[in-house]
Subunit: 211 residues, 2 copies
């Protein structure tokens, strides 16, 4: 297998952590998003959407989208389970995973892409042509991230991990979102979010977090 | 089971169609989003995010997020399979399903929510407080939908359905996106998109499309 990857972006890290938790390794190709290598003819021949991560299997099958790549890895390497083990846990982990994406990652991406000078004409990710940044959307994204921190902090007062008492893909997405939001999107976690801070220290101490 | 549903919104329809394909029925509670019933104390006690659809199982377990609800139904009612049957088909259907959401639905929602007068202070869905509409985002959303039509039309020149030769959850999402985008978001499909138009007629003729 070969993973087209970017050390700078939050989505490829989700797959790297997922693979580290599973003990799976594969070839790695770094694509520099800031330089626009994801929009080169060479990479668009692999993934016409121009998005990372992208996994290519040994038979040439291409799988894109972080969660779909994780699904393939969960099916082929079931242990340890990271996407649930019965109908209810599978659904609830998927639900929480999506909360992290829709309530957190989208806002962080809006905050970053609409304020980073290098992306002033790349307001949306991937092979979508010229999209001018919208400053009001950067401000909205920052506010969304702040609300996300508060909501996640409340939820983490009731459970050890994002989707209950087991570490799961929902924690992986959340960790990548929080690190991207505090880093590139420049929204700090308030000191009052003690549950969130404790969880973040906990999951950041896992060896997979270095992936 | 009880489904909190809205006949007016695209996401609940995804679950209704999925259930119709599976032959599953359950109690139905209509929530009027335009009137803001999804933000009432009564509904927020069921789903604090204030979003539809939301499924409540007979033991009180709450599952939200369309795809997570579909996951539960796929696990408990495997036939006919709508989310793949082996690691590669599961991953590729999930990937295509997400393309429909991220490349199509997000843009259509941006176009609608930022131009519909009744949502002038509800720029984001759910229990997120006052979010002013951003007119530039409505314009960007319409452009995104137009690109989505072109891209989906190209892909449907190579396969009968969105994720290959089998009808799947990716077609259900795509149908709900296209009908929402042409309706509420007011972006017409160009006559040149012959593959998309043929596919749309095909999937719209399935009895489940009436759900």
């Amino acid at each position: 297998m070969k993973l087209y990857d970017s050390k700078l972006a939050p989505n490829p890290r989700r797959v790297r952590i997922f693979m580290a938790e599973k003990g799976v390794t594969c070839d790695n190709v770094q694509i520099d998003i800031i330089k626009g290598e994801n929009l080169s003819d060479e990479f668009l021949a692999v993934n016409p959407r121009g998005l990372l991560p992208t996994l290519v299997l040994d038979d040439g099958t291409v799988i894109d989208e972080s969660v779909a790549i994780c699904r393939y890895l969960e099916e082929t390497h079931p242990e340890p389970p990271l996407m649930g083990t019965d109908p209810v846990s599978k659904a609830q982990i998927e639900s929480r995973q999506r909360h992290m994406e829709f309530d957190g990652l989208l806002g962080a991406a809006e905050a970053f892409r609409n304020s980073f000078p290098g992306f002033s004409s790349r307001g949306l990710a991937g092979n979508v042509g010229t999209i001018e940044a919208i400053p009001a959307l950067a401000a909205r994204g920052k506010a969304t991230v702040s609300s996300f921190y508060e909501s996640l902090d409340r939820d983490l007062g009731n459970s050890t991990y994002v989707a209950g008492e087991q570490f799961s893909i929902a924690d992986i997405t959340a960790l990548c979102v929080v690190d991207f939001a505090t880093g590139a999107a420049r929204v700090a976690i308030p000191d009052s979010c003690e549950n969130l801070i404790r969880w973040h220290e906990n999951v950041s101490a896992r060896p997979s977090a270095q992936a």
